[in-house]
């Protein structure tokens, strides 16, 4: 009974997320269909006759109504087929597979740096709220939040790459060429993202932690003679992570395909670059495949964040429970 209801909630959530995926991909189809330029002309080259163009359109199925094309694309997706790129004729799956690791590594490193900054800073400033350290951290965070990440990126390139020649300014070295070289290439872009994103993480953690520290059970923990670090890390941190996890999820989701400017500045072949190039080339199958990947990631992260809520708070684990 209890489990039945919990399962219903999970199914409802999954259904909602599936609807989001369908709506987003359909919207993409309809929108890219409105792009003014003509891919058929692009493919058949200069000097193609009207008959040539018609033949290309026929072959690509471009002259069918957009909804029919969407339905047939959706059918292919269900069968695990994403099709081939129109521009390069490479399988879409292949492009995604080669670009995804770059995005994932950038995402992982940047979120890692952001967490390494935000967690200690949030905990310490909440513990010593109002102190000089708190004010200093707050001011520094404020400045960071006002820096666009591309400004930060270029500033760091000027400093670390051009002036001190410590790190490469641009370019991607695959992992197969050695971990050190690979990490060197990711250090600046990941930092550029992290130094802007840690601020909001730190702020929500600080706010929630300050609220938690006023709770009775923290007073009781102090009465129990629990050392300060244990109060912060064992008693107070976990109930204060809700907004933090939510924001972290939103930021992570937006980085898949959203880090395109950083990818551009550092010449990293990530999902964001792939999408932009696909749009410029009006490469419909590639656009669709990329958008599908981005949306699925968004949905997956949403789902994981929901799972995390349950892990954080036992009260949310079972829907109907009054033991």
């Amino acid at each position: 009974m209890v489990f039945g209801r919990a399962a219903t909630v999970v199914w409802k959530k999954l259904l909602h997320l599936l609807l989001v995926v369908l709506a987003v991909t359909l919207l993409t189809f309809v929108m890219t269909d409105r792009l003014p330029a003509d891919i058929a002309a692009e493919i058949s080259g200069r000097g193609a006759t009207a008959a040539d163009l018609a033949e290309v359109r026929e072959r690509l199925g471009l002259n069918r109504p957009v909804l029919i094309r969407y339905a047939s694309w959706l059918g292919d997706v269900c069968l695990g087929r994403l099709g081939n790129s129109l521009a390069t004729e490479l399988p879409v799956k292949e492009s995604l597979r080669s670009h995804l690791p770059v995005t994932l590594e950038l995402l992982f490193l940047s979120q890692l740096f952001a967490l390494l900054l935000a967690l200690p800073a949030g905990i310490i400033t909440a513990w010593r709220a109002g102190s000089r350290l708190d004010r200093l951290t707050g001011t520094f965070a404020f400045a960071c939040a006002s820096l666009p990440n591309y400004v930060l990126a270029m500033g760091m390139v000027m400093l670390f790459s051009l002036k001190f020649k410590l790190l490469p300014a641009t370019g991607y070295t695959p992992l197969s060429a050695g971990l050190a070289a690979n990490l060197k290439g990711f250090l600046l872009p990941a930092l550029a993202i992290a130094l802007v994103e840690w601020v909001i993480l730190m702020r929500v953690l600080r706010t929630d932690l300050i609220a938690t520290l006023k709770e009775d059970y923290i007073l009781l923990a102090r009465c129990k003679g629990v050392p300060a670090w244990r109060i912060l890390l064992v008693h107070a941190l976990r109930p204060s992570l809700f907004t933090f996890i939510t924001v972290l999820g939103m930021q992570t989701a937006s980085l898949i395909g959203g880090a395109v400017i950083i990818e551009t500045i550092f010449a990293l072949p990530g999902i964001g670059r792939l999408l932009v190039n696909a749009i410029f080339a009006q490469d419909y199958p590639l656009i669709q495949g990329t958008v599908l990947l981005i949306t699925l990631a968004y949905v997956l992260i949403n789902f994981l964040v929901d799972l995390c809520y349950g892990l954080l708070d036992p009260r949310l684990r079972k829907v109907a429970d009054n033991g």
């Binding site: 709506a23 919207l27 993409t28 409105r34 792009l35 404020f142 400045a143 270029m154 551009t264 749009i279």
Partner: protein, 272 residues
């Protein structure tokens, strides 16, 4: 923030002063006694450093940086002020009814906002500009529309707080219609926090507009914008860093000033 107490400190006045200066420059850029025009190319001074005839130096094509910076402020200011305002208007138009009527209309509006939030913003902007052309108004419209789901959420959350309040009931008993209650009773109450949010978004929009320049989606090339200047300066980063440093500093200070004001305003409404 802890360092922004009740009394406006020196930072507050500095922020106001800087913004006033930027607005003044944007307004008067056309009538200032400048020695160069926007796209006048000084081929004797390519990527020249600051000083001499060019106060802030020239860019890689020999165009005067100061002049471009002054005129570029118009783009940032117009996009930065109009796009959030558009988002605010859409947010009010859809968010208030959603919170007030509840039921299926609320569900419809909120699901739509969910979908738009999940939709890759890049596609929207790229397609939007591809169809309408990379013009100032396109960028403003596009960013404004992209922002509206966030505004809808904020408006709805703020409006919902007033649904059950006594003075709303009192107005209803007094015979006021629902539309007039929303306009006369609810709107004045939610405007404060909303304006604070709008200011916070303004800083964000200025940043995003600059970022679009990196993808070639901002105002087309000869017209200057801060983001465009930064993006273009990438090629001469090593030889002439001043080409990007000046627009970068200007943008940073402007965003910082806007954020300071927004934070102050937000702090005031959160306290009360």
């Amino acid at each position: 923030m802890a360092d922004l107490g009740r009394k406006p400190g020196i930072t507050f006045y500095l922020a106001c002063g800087w913004l006033a200066l930027v607005v003044l420059c944007a307004l008067c850029a056309g009538v200032l006694p400048l020695h160069f025009t926007l796209d006048q190319i000084d081929s004797d001074h390519l990527a020249a450093g600051p000083g001499g005839a060019h106060l802030l130096g020239t860019d890689a094509m020999g165009r005067d940086l100061l002049v471009r910076l002054l005129f570029g402020s118009r783009v940032s200011l117009i996009v930065g002020s109009c796009a959030p305002l558009l988002g605010l208007v859409v947010g009010l138009l859809l968010g208030m009814p959603a919170a007030w009527c509840r039921g299926w209309s609320e569900r419809l509006i909120m699901t739509a906002t969910d979908v738009i939030l999940a939709f890759p913003a890049l596609i929207f902007l790229l397609v939007f500009t591809a169809i309408l052309g990379p013009k100032l108004i396109t960028i403003t419209l596009g960013l404004g529309l992209l922002l509206s789901p966030r505004f809808i959420r904020v408006v709805r959350a703020n409006t919902a707080r007033f649904r059950e309040r006594e003075f709303i009931l009192a107005a209803r008993i007094g015979g006021a219609g629902e539309v007039s209650i929303l306009l006369k009773e609810v709107l004045p109450n939610i405007m404060g926090p909303l304006l604070a949010y709008t200011l916070v978004v303004t800083g964000y929009v200025i940043v995003v507009e600059g970022g679009l320049a990196f993808l070639g989606l901002s105002v087309p090339s000869p017209a200057p914008s801060w983001g465009g200047m930064i993006a273009a300066g990438r090629d001469v980063l090593e030889e002439a860093p001043h080409v990007v440093i000046f627009p970068m500093a200007t943008m940073f200070l402007t965003v910082l000033a806007v954020n300071l004001l927004g934070d102050r305003l937000r702090g005031r409404y959160e306290r009360s």
